[in-house]
Symmetry: C2
Subunit: 411 residues, 2 copies
């Protein structure tokens, strides 16, 4: 007898277990437990295995300094003592050090890996996941080069031959882990598919597919290569995807603009550098707000120029992944702070990076260079005077004091 209710439930894996990955696993696990008709209770979390020891002030410290496996510890004490200490995880988060095993039979893969590990992890997963799985990329950033722009979600989607959306917002992980109120934007918009007549699944490979190039139309998600979700599963509508992420302390707004959501999380770092430069000059809040506003409008223009109508103005001006993430990044983010310090101390930002960041690298500087290389290749540097000014300040061709003059004509 036919039944209207779904017979299978979605199984969820979080691919990644750093600060942000563990935070996502925590909130997703809270949600799946509350929605047992939609989701299986266990949330797998892939852990890049390493040896860890408890610090002496951990409540779990037993006097032994013997190293233990991170994944085993997480499953024992329900805490990621290395990357999210002092936050208890729901017991339905299960750490798994084996990547293919952690994703086996999962219909929803949530990618929360550092930028540089995305491609490699996807290659290891290719062919070992459900063909009809769906992914959401929570890693910020895009791959930009002279040849074009590729979104993280595109790398994931093309390598695994599945649809991949994106989550981004004004989301400082530690605040969300503590259940302090925040918002986010989730872009999810798989192409329409006829589940009764699935087309044969081709197997495009990221390395064979051109980067997005303004001279060619954006390939976008290609429904011909996607396998429809079987009808026994609850549909992955905006409503159901929202249920996976929305918490009383983490408000989710669903949109369809994957390009805009992804670009916002990358380009905001260039704006944060600019805001840091003018703040370092002691120019005050008017100037900082002006740079933020001009930066948001350059984001809008960038989206339209290289992703056409699929990048919506409102994604940048109205969503958490746009205006709110710019605000947060320019209030106290790492790029803002280092840029400000560089100007105040009369040093280069690279000197500040070395002394202040414990070997970590600023995302803003590499994004500013990559975006500039791309804009140059398109002959469009002058159309993005703030992005171009940041590059030229980093290169020593301009001074922060030049910013008002450099952006005067265009904004």
């Amino acid at each position: 007898m036919a039944t209207l209710s779904a017979q299978r439930k979605h199984k969820v894996t979080v691919v990644g277990s750093g600060n942000w990955g563990t935070t996502m696993a925590k909130l997703v696990a809270e949600n799946v437990k509350e929605k047992p008709t939609l989701f299986e209770e266990t949330v797998q979390m892939w852990v890049y295995e390493e040896d860890v020891t408890f610090s002496k002030d951990s409540k779990h410290y037993s006097g032994s300094d013997k190293p233990e496996k991170l994944s085993q510890l997480i499953n024992q004490v329900h805490e990621n003592i290395k990357y999210l200490p002092n936050i208890t995880l729901p017991s339905n988060v299960v750490a798994n050090p084996d990547l293919p095993s952690s994703c086996k039979d999962s219909t929803i893969l949530i990618f929360v890996l550092p930028h540089q590990f995305i491609a490699r992890s996807c290659s290891q997963l290719a062919g070992k996941i459900l063909p009809y799985a769906r992914a959401i990329c929570c890693t910020k950033g895009v791959d930009v080069g002279e040849k074009g722009i590729r979104l993280m979600s595109e790398t994931i989607g093309m390598t695994l031959n599945i649809y991949c959306g994106a989550l981004s917002g004004a989301n400082i992980a530690s605040e969300i882990a503590q259940e302090k109120y925040s918002e986010t934007t989730v872009a999810y918009d798989p192409p329409p598919m006829d589940s009764r007549n699935p087309t044969p699944s081709g197997s495009p490979n990221a390395s064979q597919v051109d980067l997005i190039n303004p001279s060619k139309p954006n390939p976008g998600p290609r429904s011909a290569h996607l396998t429809p979700l079987p009808a026994e599963y609850p549909p992955l509508s905006h409503e159901n995807v929202r249920k996976l992420f929305h918490r009383p302390y983490f408000h989710v707004h669903m949109v369809s603009d994957v390009a805009g959501v992804s670009l916002g999380g990358a380009l905001k770092n260039i704006i944060a550098l600019a805001a840091g430069f003018v703040d370092g000059l002691g120019w005050g809040d008017n100037a900082k707000a002006a740079v933020m506003r001009v930066g948001i409008l350059e984001m809008v223009k960038f989206g339209k120029a290289f992703f056409g109508e699929s990048a919506r103005t409102s994604t940048f001006t109205e969503e958490s992944c746009g205006v709110a993430d710019v605000v947060t990044s320019c209030m106290g983010g790492r790029n803002f702070r280092c840029a400000k310090m560089a100007i105040q101390r009369g040093k280069t930002i690279y000197e500040i990076e070395q002394t202040e960041l414990n070997g970590q690298k600023l995302q803003g500087t590499s994004t500013a260079y990559e975006v500039n290389e791309f804009l140059k290749s398109q002959g469009m540097e002058d159309d993005f005077p703030l992005f171009t000014a940041v590059y030229n300040i980093l290169e020593g061709n301009n001074k922060p004091e030049d910013i008002p003059n450099l952006i005067e004509k265009k904004h």
Copy 2:
């Protein structure tokens, strides 16, 4: 012989000489000097006369503590020692304590008075200005009550029977006086008029004209009552109005949306209170950015609900008078700081106001009450959950901790 060049020049008066008024007089005077074909060189500045004495650390202090007239001192030392000390004014700023005399023969009146003096000053000027003068209101705020909303520019325009635009932005006066970079938005959009066939000038009076009421269409500028600018003057196009205000350190963006520009400067103070409340709870930058984003969207909705299509979304989301002014106000403005302090110290905002503001009043609290009274009268409190939450927190009906829950359904 007919000539294409204008035979007369615009004469400019700045009505007001406080911190912001004196700053506007300074920058406008710098501009008119550089554009002698458009503007007369002298800029009149109306000064509310009072007795002042030099402070002992002023460079002008001569050992005498004898009080002198503020207007005379400004014209002697080219400095407003009381309201904008240590900033030298261009010598073409001429202080004038007589209101009608200061505006005589001026084609451009720039109003920069405290909110509560606007109506009275306009009454004193009625009938004593050029019938074809044009005004720009730089005072932030709107008059809101149970009966409706009236913009400052409407009060000015209706009382004087002239067209009045508006200037607003992320504009902390002291930073602009020091020529630190900032941006602003100028809304200027007089109705089309046929200067060859001027219609007889009626004389509507502010007290006879209804407040804007959602049940009636917005009266807007009524061309039938306006006197066209004589053709001997350079046209007051967006380009020429921009030339009056734009400086290398003060970037002007021209728009046509007077309602949006005016509402932004008023409603941002409610948002700043909300941002202060959540920041006072120690909720961090995610929460603060979320409240700002939600607030901007309530501004957009408010504009659309009560001013229709004339209030454009982009005025709030893309212009200095919208998003940038919200950012500045939520970074360090007075409403933000007092709201934050109230939560941190467990006091009411009125107690903080008394101890911290030297007898000055917060604009945000009165705006929050006025807007709530109006929304209540329209049965629309629930459509603006953040504005309503701020009112209810001020009233003690809600706690700041309730904000996420209160806004969850609508945003």
